[in-house]
């Protein structure tokens, strides 16, 4: 009857087996779920977080491009370029992970407000565990959208021809300088754009008409304007504009012997100083 003493051992083993079976299926399921949750986090939220860390550097480089060429490179071009770069990176992740995850750009927005440019893109990540939507964005501390528009208007303003009435040809230079300053000031107006403008100009005038109480000179003035945003420390680029315009100077008297004369000058305008004065 020895075998009877073995029966409790078998029963104990069977009970242990049943418990272990339960434990394995339970813990195994939990482990699979935990790994799914971890994988989903890494493929979605962690990717969005990493994008939020990388997009500012890309944006700053693109902003420099805009500042050096604001006529052709507008803020909409920045937005579509950066969105393209993001989509490209997400496409690589999708390919290299054998399609475990797919990303879709739902939409992207860029706009300038006060002294900031706000860009964000909405991305949808499709994983086997579900869909997650995230927003990646960056706020650049300068209104790039307004800046490129401003530069275009500035160029149009500077390229416009004009007429000045003077008492004497010696005041043509200061009169011209004031005219340029007034034009730029009226363009800046009460906007919150924070820039410094340096304009160098050179003009050569020749007499085109003379009568008893009136002498008319026509001058071609060439200018170089250097515009740089204030307080943008991530970029050393400046905008350079060059152009020419005609100035008709009318002197209200008969000028005896000056057929030609030339002028040159420099103007420095800080938009914040102008706005301080207007307030």
């Amino acid at each position: 009857m020895i075998y009877k003493s073995l029966l409790p051992i078998i029963i104990t083993l069977l009970i242990t087996m049943a418990m272990l079976n339960y434990l394995i299926s339970h813990v195994g399921n939990e482990e699979v779920k935990a790994l799914e949750v971890e994988n989903e986090y890494l493929l979605t939220i962690n990717v969005f977080k990493q994008l939020n860390n990388t997009v500012p550097k890309i944006f700053q480089a693109k902003a420099c491009l805009l500042i050096s060429n604001p006529i052709n490179y507008t803020c909409n071009v920045i937005a579509s370029n950066i969105t393209g770069i993001i989509m490209n990176a997400l496409g690589i992740i999708s390919n290299e992970s054998s399609g475990v995850v797919r990303y879709e750009v739902v939409d992207y927005v860029i706009y300038g407000i006060n002294n900031e440019t706000i860009y964000y893109v909405t991305i949808k990540a499709l994983t086997p565990m579900g869909d997650t939507t995230g927003i990646v964005g960056y706020t650049y501390p300068f209104n790039l959208c307004y800046y490129s528009q401003f530069i275009k208007e500035l160029m149009n303003t500077l390229n416009a021809n004009f007429t000045i009435d003077v008492e004497n040809i010696t005041v043509v230079q200061s009169s011209l300088g004031n005219e340029i300053i007034n034009r730029v000031k009226s363009l800046i107006g009460t906007s919150s754009i924070n820039i410094t403008i340096n304009i160098y100009y050179v003009g050569v005038f020749r007499m085109i008409n003379r009568s008893i109480n009136r002498t008319t000179y026509l001058g071609q003035v060439s200018y170089t304007a250097r515009i740089s945003p204030n307080n943008v420390h991530t970029c050393n680029e400046i905008t350079t504009l060059a152009g020419a315009f005609y100035v008709t100077a009318v002197v209200n008297r008969y000028v005896n012997n000056t057929y030609y004369f030339s002028i040159n000058g420099a103007i420095n305008i800080n938009s914040m100083v102008i706005n301080d004065k207007t307030r």
């Binding site: 020895i2 073995l6 087996m17 272990l20 813990v27 935990a34 986090y41 962690n46 990176a89 992740i93």
Partner: protein, 101 residues
């Protein structure tokens, strides 16, 4: 015959059979215990690598966990995408951790 009969008593046969059953059950239970510890190992490696991925340093030097570039099979532990600024582009890499025995 009487001696043999008394030696091969039914008790002994049954005892032998039961001991064999007990041994088989012990092997089975041991196997289950190993399986349970493997689940535990995978879970703890998953947690460790989950944190490593978020810190941007997805490496490990263990014999039973390997990390590859890209994902080749569906039997992965964790997939870790890493993004870096590469000039004016965003460079993307995907690392995948597998458990091998």
């Amino acid at each position: 015959m009487v001696v043999v009969d008394s030696l091969v008593f039914p008790d002994l046969v049954i005892t032998m059979i039961l001991i064999i059953i007990i041994l088989l059950l012990i092997v089975y239970v041991t196997n289950q215990l190993i399986e349970l510890s493997m689940i535990d190992y995978k879970a703890s490696m998953g947690t460790y690598l989950f944190l490593k991925c978020q810190l941007g340093n997805f490496t490990i030097h263990l014999n039973h966990v390997i990390i590859t570039n890209g994902t080749s099979s569906s039997n992965y532990l964790l997939i870790c995408p890493q993004l870096v600024v590469n000039g004016s582009q965003i460079g993307a890499k995907v690392y995948t951790a597998y458990v091998k025995w």
